[in-house]
């Protein structure tokens, strides 16, 4: 396993990184977890319930025992179970708060049965919802994390509101799961290449990049793009594709993570590529590791390869292994330098 000392951030992966590999002939969860163990991609293991487990979250005891056995017999430690609040699964009548809580509680209970100490999902940002969620978590002895994900930043309105609610509710069970995608310094080369290959006019991609790079808030970027791109000939389909540049990649200074680190329960190390030196070309991993070390964080970091949204030219296995090597090096070197 790729080890860091117990007082340091712990490495691991989310099986979401292997989204494309799950579509290959012969895929089984057992084979996937076994191969992750062979490649030493632990010690932490996260999964998306609705992705990896048929029937989620309504699993019988035999399935629970089987899956839990796969994780533990391969030497992994359960970190976080990624859940979903499918508010609009009935398109005609969305869930109300009570239904939303029940929907999440079913997933929290199954995550616990599988041995996961943390569940995570988006939630409804009201104090009444958060208070009910805190009660559920307290009843089941489970932590719950809300992701801080691109295009949000620590001071976007919805996040600020939830930060204040978290302070008022002040539950030890609730916290944040910041995602590396919120703090990128450039657009992934793999995404720009995918646009090029799909025949997107270069000037449109370039315009979207300029908007992304401007020093404005995300809502201002969306508005500027929506207003100007059609003048350059962008069709609605082009707009939809190019909007991914704005939605999937945040531009927050990683040092601002320090504002929420006291309530961070887990970290998502989203990434989109590795260069010839093993560095991530669009996310400053060293800067984020420094913030985690400054805060004394010793929870888990899940490597989360999402370049599969843009390319199948590389293996998710290789990418996770490469990012873990980068993170381990940075964590160990920078922690040692502090002691020295």
């Amino acid at each position: 396993m790729t080890q860091t000392a117990p007082n340091l951030p712990q490495l691991g992966l989310t099986l979401f990184s292997l989204t494309l590999e799950m579509r290959e002939p012969g895929y089984t969860l057992a084979g996937m977890i076994g191969h992750a163990a062979e490649l030493d991609l632990g010690p932490g293991l996260e999964m998306v319930g609705f992705q990896s487990l048929r029937g989620w979250p309504h699993l019988d005891d035999a399935t629970i025992d089987h899956v839990r056995g796969l994780i533990e017999s391969n030497g992994f430690t359960q970190t976080a179970m990624s859940c979903n609040l499918d508010l609009a699964r009935n398109r005609a009548q969305w869930m109300d708060e009570q239904e939303g809580i029940a929907y999440l509680e079913a997933q929290i209970v199954t995550a616990k049965r599988l041995g996961f100490p943390i569940a995570k999902s988006a939630i409804i940002t009201t104090e009444s919802f958060v208070r009910k969620l805190a009660e559920v978590c307290d009843r089941h002895g489970m932590q719950f994390g809300v992701e801080l994900h691109s295009p949000e930043s620590v001071d976007s309105p919805g996040i600020l509101e939830l930060r204040e609610i978290f302070e008022r509710v002040d539950s030890p069970w609730l916290g944040w799961v910041p995602d590396f995608s919120s703090s990128m310094h450039s657009i992934p080369p793999s995404l720009l290449a995918a646009h090029r290959e799909s025949g997107m006019p270069e000037e449109l991609t370039q315009f979207a990049s300029e908007v992304w790079n401007s020093d404005t808030t995300m809502p201002e970027k969306f508005a500027a793009f929506a207003q100007e791109a059609p003048k350059l000939g962008a069709t609605p389909a082009d707009m939809g594709k190019l909007n991914m540049i704005l939605t999937m990649h945040g531009r927050m200074d990683p040092r601002r993570w320090s504002e929420i680190m006291d309530r961070v329960v887990h970290v998502h190390a989203k990434f989109y590529g590795l260069d010839e030196h093993g560095d991530e070309p669009s996310i400053d991993h060293a800067a984020i590791v420094d913030v985690l070390l400054d805060a004394g964080f010793n929870g888990s970091i899940s490597s989360e390869w999402e370049g599969h949204a843009y390319t199948d030219a590389v293996s998710g296995w290789d990418m996770v292994r490469g990012q873990q090597a980068l993170l381990a090096k940075l964590i160990n070197e920078r922690a040692a330098a502090r002691v020295g």
Binding site: F16, T19, L20, M22, R23, Y27, V48, F50, Q51, R54, G55, W56, N84, L85, D86, L87, A88, R89, N90, R91, A92, S121, A122, A194, H195, E197, S198, A237, G240, K241, H308, A309, Y310, T311, D312
Partner: protein
């Protein structure tokens, strides 16, 4: 434009079945979604659009008309499974070649987008245009 878009219709995904074609449709989303997420399924065969209401969707032993799908929010479409869509089509035979165009729009129930007064689930679109040989 992502790799999963290429997986929506696989090369062996079309079958001639008497007076209809059977198309195996796969999801381009990474996680299981309820069948109610199938919001847009616009199919054209050899350039001829097919009325969505003429399609029959079969999954896990049950069949649905397109208009039945919004109510199927408790039925889960697992990521590695295809849904079979029956498309009325006279004279399809094994070995015949057909151009299949699919505009798929999945209503993503947990990603709500838009301004506060017009919140709506994200519609994740995927376009397929392939020429397939019938099984």
């Amino acid at each position: 434009m992502g790799p999963l878009d290429k997986d929506v219709v696989r090369p062996n995904g079309l079958k001639a079945a008497g007076d209809k074609l059977e198309l195996q449709l796969r999801s381009h989303w990474y996680r299981s979604l309820p069948l109610s997420s199938l919001k847009v399924v616009d199919i054209a065969i050899d350039g001829e659009p097919v009325d969505s209401d003429a399609l029959t969707f079969s999954y896990e032993g049950k069949s649905y008309a397109f208009s039945d799908l919004p109510a199927q929010y408790d039925e889960w479409w697992y990521i590695t499974d295809p849904i079979t869509i029956e498309i009325p089509h006279d004279g399809a035979t094994p070995g015949s070649e057909h151009r299949v165009h699919v505009d798929l729009g999945l209503s993503i129930p947990y990603i709500i987008v838009g301004p506060p007064q017009a919140r709506t689930p994200l519609l994740a679109a995927s376009v397929t245009d392939k020429t397939l040989v019938c099984n």
